[in-house]
Amino acid sequence: MAAKKNPIWIARDLTKCSGCRKCEIACSLSHEKRIWPEASRIRVFMLVPGVEFPHFCTQCKDYPCIKACPTKALTISEETGAVLVDKKACTACGKCITACPGRIPHMHPTEKHILICDLCNGNPQCVKVCREGEWNVLKKVTRKNQAYHLYARKPEEITRDLCIKFYGEKGEEFL
């Protein structure tokens, strides 16, 4: 794989998420020029009220999504380390979703291709708005050699942990 010039990563503290969805607004405005929550590459889940968190690509070291893609529609950005989607090559087969340990990619609601965070070419808009409001759920950091795949978890799994953290034993009733 090609050398990365300035790889970044978005550090995430899910416990601080207010559920404001400003990240979705910023992401969809930047990528789609519209406010479009379901077309956002970062999506806030709220399977249990109070337990909101952003769900988006973690750029695993071994990039299982890229390996799973049958049409070579997914590549790694040399610049940032992000997974880039070639919209024309993508057939919307969904194999990357199955390959992702967190089932993070999802389909564009109206076009036939997958949506994966592209790290905004090194200047992630979600991070910008999250920092502006001082929630600091998201922070841009330099990508190093860490176990990023640990962050790629299914919404139900993340919900379970946060729900118990906030609500204790009672939280089990909502899962």
């Binding site: 379901e38 399977l47 009220p49 969904g94 009733e173």
Partner: protein, 623 residues
């Protein structure tokens, strides 16, 4: 072409189980905007000529869920719930925060009009243009948290089954009722996200009367296009920057008020408003938070303020109780108003109220009213089914709240809300207990008193409001000034959170409206024509009222008797409002609003506003 609208409404007839789409003419959208304004217009057009005969709980009443063009654009998403109110028998634009309005617009609808009545419990499931009425018998009887848990699971499974290639489906946005709504309790809410509620108006009971347990909506489209998205983005930023500068407001939300509105402005209900002052320092900011908050920032769609917090009782006998902050209104009404001054008891009671689907304000009001009657020995332990409603006894109040939600025993009387309960108790006890009822036109007054003169409502704010005791829609003079009810009419019609409009420059909301819709609107045009027209329609339907009660302006455009008693304690001890002065002020308001000396909108005003047909209907009131 007007922008910012999805362009159609969804109509659901629960009697026939049929659905259809309805398009409103651009002229109507331009004039009535959305939310409260558009709901008022729809209700007038469809029910106005027989308004007095419409039973709020009958199949003829309409239940409306209406977004506005600014929903999703103006930071802080909300949805407006309306219909004929079973509390004031007029129209209330009752808004609730959350993602529902945004999801609905992204599904392609500006609103939902529900008519008729289902025989069996149902819920409405909307995924873009796929609309389905589904069996809700499994959900009927479930509390707020159970309902959301079951419905989230069921809807996500449905989505996954029907659209397996999409990836992980998020939860749809939901509005639902608890047991109180199912049992047609007049203080029942239409709720969202466990602890959010469209409380004023009592529309949870209307939803229950139609056997509609919930609405779940997932919209996968974009928000309807704005006329000038760059301008809209700039204004969004301005609104957010303004909010970000209010550091303590964001930090505590309305929670700081639990102490301050009592101690400083002396306008917090204490023991059914017998006092409006307390100096209980444990009832505010960090002394409250450190014991119960598990989440410091809790926002609805796009909101920079995060005035909501999540609370959990961690220790003691109420361990495991979960609610939001509670926000100031519930801090006050389920706190000092019931003689309760500890965060744990307050959180517990608020969680009970949320779970039952009751309104914390209206139910806190009626519980306080009942407790005072118990204090005055007008109601006995026997009357109250063996419950001693002693000030400060959170468990007794919780027990009575459950009786209210299920209409059991004396709870059946209190389930009618304070005003109607006062009439019933008055008949039973042969004594006038309305003097203990702190209500305006059937609606319990929000937790901001007027006697000290230091809080934001004016002395005629509740007396002259078209939404009675609603503290989020208070009347003020002049009508084109900052304290006017017309400002709230705009917020509730654009449908966004008024909390994010605090401190903004005067014309920003109209600029925002233009950026989204492409339609120019000036403050003057709003105050003298469009906003005023909505206000007149609301006033007319409020006065028509019926069938069980209606209001006489010269009697009912007034404060509750309690507000004429001098404050007995605190820094403003002895202060009150003067009956004679209020009479004069109400008269001035009539004049300012274009109402005659009997409080009825004048013919010439209605005709100038193009409301000739409304004027004709008013003939019966003028006689």
């Amino acid at each position: 072409m007007i922008r910012g609208y999805a362009g159609k409404f969804l109509e659901v007839d629960l009697s026939t189980k049929k659905t259809k789409e309805t398009i409103f003419a651009e002229e109507i959208l331009k004039n009535y905007i959305g939310g409260r304004g558009l709901a008022t217009k729809i209700l007038w057009d469809r029910l106005g000529n027989r308004w007095e005969t419409i039973n709020p709980f009958g199949p003829d009443n309409l239940l409306l869920f209406v977004t506005g063009p600014l929903t999703g654009y103006f930071p802080g998403g909300r949805i407006c719930v309306s219909g004929k109110s079973p509390q004031c028998n007029g129209v209330v634009g009752s808004t609730v925060g959350g993602e529902f309005g945004v999801e609905l617009k992204c599904a392609g609808y500006d609103g939902i009009i529900v008519s008729g009545k289902s025989e069996k419990p149902v819920y409405l499931f909307i995924k873009d243009s796929d609309v389905e009425l589904r069996d809700a018998s499994r959900l009927w009887g479930k509390d707020a948290k159970q309902t959301m848990t079951l419905l989230t699971r069921e809807c996500r499974e449905l989505l996954k089954k029907r659209y397996p290639l999409f990836g992980e489906w998020r939860e749809p946005a939901m509005l639902y009722i608890g047991p109180a709504g199912e049992n047609i309790v007049r203080t029942a809410v239409v709720a969202a996200k466990w602890a959010h509620a469209a409380g004023y108006g009592g529309y949870g009971a209307v939803m229950g009367s139609k056997k509609l347990k919930a609405i779940a909506v997932k919209g996968t489209g974009p928000l309807p296009e704005a006329a000038n998205i760059k301008k809209a983005e700039k204004l969004m930023q301005e609104v957010c920057d303004n909010a970000y500068s209010a550091v303590l407001w964001r930090r505590w939300g309305t929670g700081a008020a639990g102490y301050e509105v009592g101690a400083d402005t002396s306008s917090e209900p204490v023991r059914n408003w017998q006092e409006e002052w307390h100096d209980e320092k444990s009832y505010g900011v960090d002394q409250f938070e450190n014991r119960v908050w598990v989440k410091q920032c809790w926002s609805d769609f796009g909101c920079p303020t995060n005035c909501l917090k999540v609370s959990v009782v961690k220790t003691g006998k109420f361990k495991g109780a979960i609610t939001d902050n509670p926000d100031y209104e519930l801090q006050a009404y389920l706190g000092p108003n019931l003689g309760i001054f500890t965060p744990e008891e307050n959180v517990y009671l608020a969680s009970v109220i949320d779970d039952l689907g009751l309104c914390g304000i209206q139910t806190g009001n009626v519980l306080g009213f009942a407790a005072e009657l118990f204090q005055q020995k007008i109601l006995t332990r026997e009357d109250l089914d063996g419950i001693e409603l002693k000030w400060g006894d959170a468990e007794a109040f919780a027990e009575m709240a459950k009786k209210i939600a299920f209409r059991e025993g004396f709870g059946d009387v209190l389930a009618e809300g304070t005003y109607r309960a006062a009439l019933r108790i008055g008949q039973i006890k042969k004594i006038d207990v309305l003097r203990y009822a702190v209500v305006a036109k059937g609606i319990g007054i929000g937790a901001h008193g007027i006697r000290s003169g230091k809080d934001y409502p004016e002395d005629i704010s509740y007396a002259c409001s078209v939404q009675g005791g609603d503290h989020t829609s208070t009347a003020g003079m002049p009508l084109d000034g900052p304290g006017s009810e017309l400002g709230e009419v705009f917020n509730d019609s654009g449908v966004y959170c008024n909390f994010n409009s605090f401190g903004l420059r005067k014309n920003l909301r109209f600029e925002f409206y233009e950026a989204v819709t492409g339609i120019k609107l000036t403050a003057k045009e709003w105050a003298h024509t469009k906003g005023l027209r909505i206000l007149q329609l609301q006033r007319v339907m409020l006065l028509l009222g019926g069938p069980d009660v209606s209001w006489k302006p010269l009697i009912d455009d007034d404060n509750p008797p309690r507000f004429y008693e001098p404050l007995p304690s605190g820094p403003y001890k002895g202060k009150t409002v003067d009956r004679k002065e209020i009479k004069e002020r109400v008269k001035s308001y009539y004049k300012a609003a274009g109402w005659d000396e009997k409080g009825i909108p004048k013919s010439q005003v209605l005709r100038r506003l193009g409301l000739d047909n409304v004027d004709k209907v008013l003939e019966k009131l003028r006689q």
